[in-house]
Assembly symmetry: C2
């Protein structure tokens, strides 16, 4: 998917919501457990109930990998029922030496036809570039994550050419040369919306994938106000709050209600903060 | 596996060789392609031919994931034919927020019974600790990798409490508090053996998993001389040089010859450099 297609979708749906498909067999409604593939069945109903309100789905790969080979089958089937116009994110946080990253890229981009994959930056340029060779596919590079551990390394002061940066800023700055706003996004946690202005100074045109709104305490309004650019430039993820809105037989309906509430809030922020 | 059991194996076999099972369907001998599961059959024969000469096997997970669900079946079957006393490393370079890392840990430690997994440090303590909760299982944290991109971030100068470090040193220093030499190792590329003394100052008792000897240009003698500690403390990986020693029907025999040459060299270094 191109950046223009993504932005067109955002304008049409008046939403920049990404629904996290972190589907946990222990948390899905008990009545689904009789299905042959309960995880797929849960996802299928969530997708059917929310795909006109969100612009992206993001399965966290750990939730599927934890089930071994059959988890990968559930994931592949899930991908197949996501409408073509919705952006798909493999939240896999991969990254390895060049030829190995290329294998990961083939697995997620060709075998499973994801639009994008999250990648960890620690190993540097040759661990990221193999993912950037695929036309209309995206890397979403970890910059500033929403978990408490982001403090350990991402916030370290780094000295480079006599100037001082946070490490996550150096990741943003250096990686700008590896890709373009047409194939490279960044993970920026909503729990650190105080840094969004600095991030926008370094990556003004890039899309940001924003976890941490809701359950983790980040504010949707703050991130929208300081993070929105002329292509919207935001995909705000919500998982638990939407997919586990109810544990009853009405789970899909309740998920839709929760997604609708977020979409309506986003509609207001698109009115208020999208640059003309 | 405990550190003492690993060291006992090293002394018994006079080897600290780790064989990388980076099994690529395009590189295995053509006569194996008639087998029902050529990747497993290749691994099975390599393991049978080398398991008395090496102390660890390290499948890089990308090579299996690239084949979708059936790749995971090949991986699981491979694990089952590795002798119990040989250390197993899931080279997966995972790492995610706490509850997600725990799912990865369960996948690799419980479902597949690996002894260890490689983990990327960028997300910090809560992305690593879930892996450290499993008794006799190990985290192998990326510190200084062997690829050219290690220069981008790992070698940045970081200022902390008024002192200047390389980022990889900060990773070593900080993570020492998360685990112990009984459950935490580090990846240190042989291509930077010039830093091994500095690394040993920060992590004197830890095992180091060392890629980059051979094809990537690192010297086995250098790394052995400067890296060995009283428990040996080294697992030196070799993949291509051993598993692709021949593309003919004699591939397993040739792999054994290549592994034997490395083991004999290691035997000498254990004599010369293992502290009394």
């Amino acid at each position: 998917m191109t950046r223009d297609q993504l932005f067109e979708q955002i304008q049409r749906k008046r939403s920049y919501l990404c629904v996290g498909l972190d589907t946990d067999i222990k948390k899905i409604p008990p009545h689904l457990l009789n299905h042959e593939d309960p995880i797929f069945e849960f996802n299928r109903q969530i997708i059917e109930a929310t795909s006109d309100l969100c612009v992206a789905y993001k399965p966290n790969i750990a939730f599927y990998e934890a089930h071994g080979p059959k988890g990968w089958v559930s994931l592949q089937k899930t991908l197949e029922v996501i409408p073509q116009d919705v952006f798909t994110i493999a939240d896999a946080k991969r990254g390895d030496i060049g030829n190995t990253s290329e294998l990961y890229a083939r697995a997620f981009f060709e075998q499973m036809n994801f639009d994008s994959i999250t990648v960890a930056p620690y190993m540097g340029v040759d661990s990221v570039q193999p993912f950037l060779q695929f036309p209309n596919k995206w890397v979403i590079l970890l910059a500033l994550t929403s978990n408490p551990g982001h403090d350990d390394f991402q916030m370290l002061s780094v000295v480079s050419h006599g100037k001082s940066y946070f490490l996550f800023e150096k990741v943003l700055e250096k990686s700008q040369a590896w890709g373009t706003p047409e194939n490279l996004m960044y993970v920026v946690g909503a729990t650190r919306s105080d840094y969004v202005e600095r991030i926008r100074a370094l990556a003004p045109d890039s899309f940001l994938l924003v976890p941490g709104v809701g359950a983790q305490g980040g504010s949707l309004e703050e991130i929208s106000k300081f993070g929105m650019n002329s292509h919207c430039g935001l995909l705000v993820n919500s998982a638990r709050q939407i997919i586990y809105a109810s544990q009853g037989e009405d789970f899909a309906e309740k998920a839709r209600e929760a997604a609708l509430a977020v979409q309506q809030e986003m509609d207001r922020y698109l009115n208020d903060y999208l640059p003309a």
